[in-house]
C-alpha cells in the first residue's frame, strides 16, 4: 500500500515541494510521489508525533494556505493512515501529508488550531474510523445518528443491518418467482459487506 512510486516525480509547478517539506521536518519524514501520472502529488509521510508540526510547516514555510481535506485509510494490521491534502493558492500546488497511527493508540493531535476548516473533517474521521484527535474541542459524531455503535469505515465493520433488513426486490434470477422451476437451487446471495455465516456474530 505504501509503495506508490508510479508517478512522474518533478512534474508541475509544485515539483519537489514534498522533498522540501521532508527536509524541513527532518528525521523520520519521508517524501514520495503519489500515483497518477500528470496528477501525481507530492506526498510526505511523517511520524504521528510530527503531525501538527508537519501541517504547520506546510502552512508557514511552503505557503499552503488552503486546507483542502482530511480523512483516513484503514490499513490494519499496520494501523490507520491519516491523510490531509493542502493547497498553495499562490503556487498552485498541493501536497498530501500522511501519518500511520499505531493500532494500539489510534490518536493524533488535532490540527484545528492550525486550520480551523479541519474541524468537521476530524469529527467525520473520528466517527467513521474511531481515530481520536487530541485537543479537538468538540469531538462528537457528525453524520451518524445518536447512539450509533461502531466505526463504519473500518474494514472490520460488518453491515449487519443488511442481514436484519434485506434489500427489496429480486436480486437473483428466479428469486421473484418463488416455486417456479429453478428457484432455490442456488445458495442465497449474501449482501455486500456481510461475511459468510459462522465467520461473524454469535453462533
Amino acid at each position: 500500500m505504501s509503495a506508490d512510486g508510479s508517478g512522474a516525480a518533478g512534474h508541475g509547478p509544485g515539483a519537489g515541494v514534498g522533498a522540501r517539506l521532508a527536509e524541513l521536518l527532518g528525521d523520520g519524514c519521508v517524501a514520495s510521489v503519489s500515483g497518477g501520472g500528470d496528477w501525481a502529488r507530492d506526498t510526505v509521510d511523517v511520524p504521528p508525533g510530527r503531525w501538527v508540526a508537519a501541517l504547520t510547516a506546510a502552512r508557514d514555510e511552503l505557503g499552503c494556505d488552503f486546507f483542502d481535506w482530511l480523512s483516513a485509510v484503514d490499513e490494519l494490521p499496520d494501523g490507520f493512515r491519516v491523510v490531509a491534502h493542502l493547497w498553495s493558492v499562490a503556487g498552485r500546488y498541493g501536497v498530501l501529508v500522511r501519518t500511520l497511527l499505531d493500532p494500539a493508540d489510534s490518536t493524533v493531535d488535532s490540527v484545528v488550531p492550525v486550520y480551523p476548516g479541519a474541524a468537521w473533517h476530524e469529527r467525520e474521521t473520528y466517527e467513521m474510523f474511531g481515530i481520536g484527535f487530541a485537543g479537538h474541542e468538540d469531538l462528537r459524531p457528525l453524520l451518524l445518528p445518536d447512539g450509533f455503535e461502531g466505526h463504519p469505515l473500518r474494514k472490520d465493520f460488518i453491515l449487519a443491518s443488511r442481514v436484519a433488513k434485506p434489500w427489496p426486490g429480486a436480486k437473483e434470477p428466479g428469486e421473484s418467482h418463488a416455486g417456479s422451476a429453478g428457484a432455490g437451487k442456488r445458495a442465497p446471495m449474501r449482501p455486500p459487506g456481510v461475511p459468510a455465516p459462522g465467520e461473524w456474530g454469535d453462533a
Partner: protein, 444 residues
Amino acid sequence: MSTTPNKDPYAATSRDTTEGKVYTVTGGDWDTIVGSDDPLHHEKLVINMGPQHPSTHGVLRLVLEMEGETVTDVRPVIGYLHTGIEKNMEYRTWTQGSTFVTRADYLSPIANETVYCLAVEKLLGIELPKRAELIRVIMLELNRIASHLVWFATTGMELGATTMMIIGFREREMVLEIFELVSGLRMNMAYVRPGGVAQDFTPEAVEAIREFLKVMPKRLKQYENLMNGQPILHERAKGVAYLDVSGALALGVTGPVLRSAGLPWDLRKTTPYLGYETYDFEVPTETTCDVFGRWMVRFHECWESLKIIEQALDRLEPGPVMVEDKKVAWPAQLAIGTDGMGNSLSHVAKIMGQSMEALIHHFKLVTEGFRVPAGQVYTAVESPRGEIGCHAVSDGGTRPYRVHVREPSFVNLQALPAISEGGLLADVVAGGASLDPVMGGVDR
C-alpha cells in the same frame, strides 16, 4: 455493530393538543443547549430550523440561539441523508463506483462521476479518447448550468421571487431532457465510466444541445432583466453573509463563494483537466463577498459555460467514446437496448456467436471487474459548488480499497456559522442558500 433495531434515532415524540400535534425535538445539540440555559434570567431563544424546512435545501437542520432578532449561535446538524456511499463502494467493482458517486451531490452528478473516473483512470494510467473528453466537457458544463438554475430558482424563492422559482426549473428541465436523450436518465446517470462515457452522442442529442445554446441566452437575459436589478433582491442579498478570502481559505471554502470574495480560483483554470486550458472562457469574480456577489458569479458562469459548450461541440469529431483497452472497456457496445441502458440484444448475440472466449471475457469483466494497480491518487475538478475531489486508494484488486470524496457542499457548509452569526434570522436563510449546500453531497 449498528443502531438498536426498532428504534428510529431521528423520531420525535409527539402529543396531541387542542392546537394540533406538538412535537418534542431532541437529538443533535438540542438538549445540551436548552438544558444549559436558565430560562428565568436570560433572554435567549433557541430555535430549531429543519430538518424539514423549505429553506434548508433538503434535510439540513439548524439549531439557532437568538438574542432578540440577532442570531448569536448557529449549529448545523447534518447526517440525515448519510447513505454510506464511501463504504458501499469498497464492496463494488471500480466501474460500479460510478453508480454510487453520482448519488452524492445529486444536482451535479456528472462532476461527481468525472472526478471519480479521472482518479481511476490516473491509477490505471490510461488516456481518454478525444471524443470522450469533449463529451465529458459538454456534459459537465450543461450540468453546471442546470445546477445553477436550481440555485437561482430556490434562492429566488427564498428571497421572495417566486417567478424565478418557476422559470429556473423550466429551463433546467431542458437540460434534464438533454441528459435523458444522451444517457437514458435524467439524474444519477452513471454516464461517465472509467475509460470514457457509457454511450455516444446521437445526432438528435447534438441537435438538442445546439437548440439549447440558441434558447438559453435569451432566457439568461430574461433573468437579468427580472432579477439583477431587483430592489428586493438587493435589500436581501447585499452586504449579507460576508466572507472574505482569508476566511474562505481558512475554512476550505471553494467555488462561487470563494470567487465572490475576489479570488479567481477555478480548477478549470488553475489545474486544468480534460483539456480545459484550450477553451476560451473567463472566470467571473466579484469583490462584494456577499450573497449578491455569489448571485452574480453564478449568473456570469452560466454565460461562460455556454461558451465552452459551443466550442466543444464545434470540435466534436466521430471516434470512440471508450478506451480501446479490452482489459478495461466492455466488449459490447452500450447502445440503448430493450432495457433502456443495457447491451443491444443483437450485439450480445453477435459476441456469443463469435467466440466462447469473448463471452467468458465479457462475463468476467462485468461481474469481477478489472484490476487497478496499487497506489493512491488525488484528483479534483470544479463542480458547480466548488472543488470536488476524489482520493482513491487501490490495493491492486478489482474493488476500491478506499475512496474518499472531498465534497464542496460539506466543506462550504462548515462556514455557515461564520457567515450568519451576528446577523438576522432572515439572513441565515439568505446566507445558507448562498453556499448552495446539497445535502446528498454533505452527508454522502
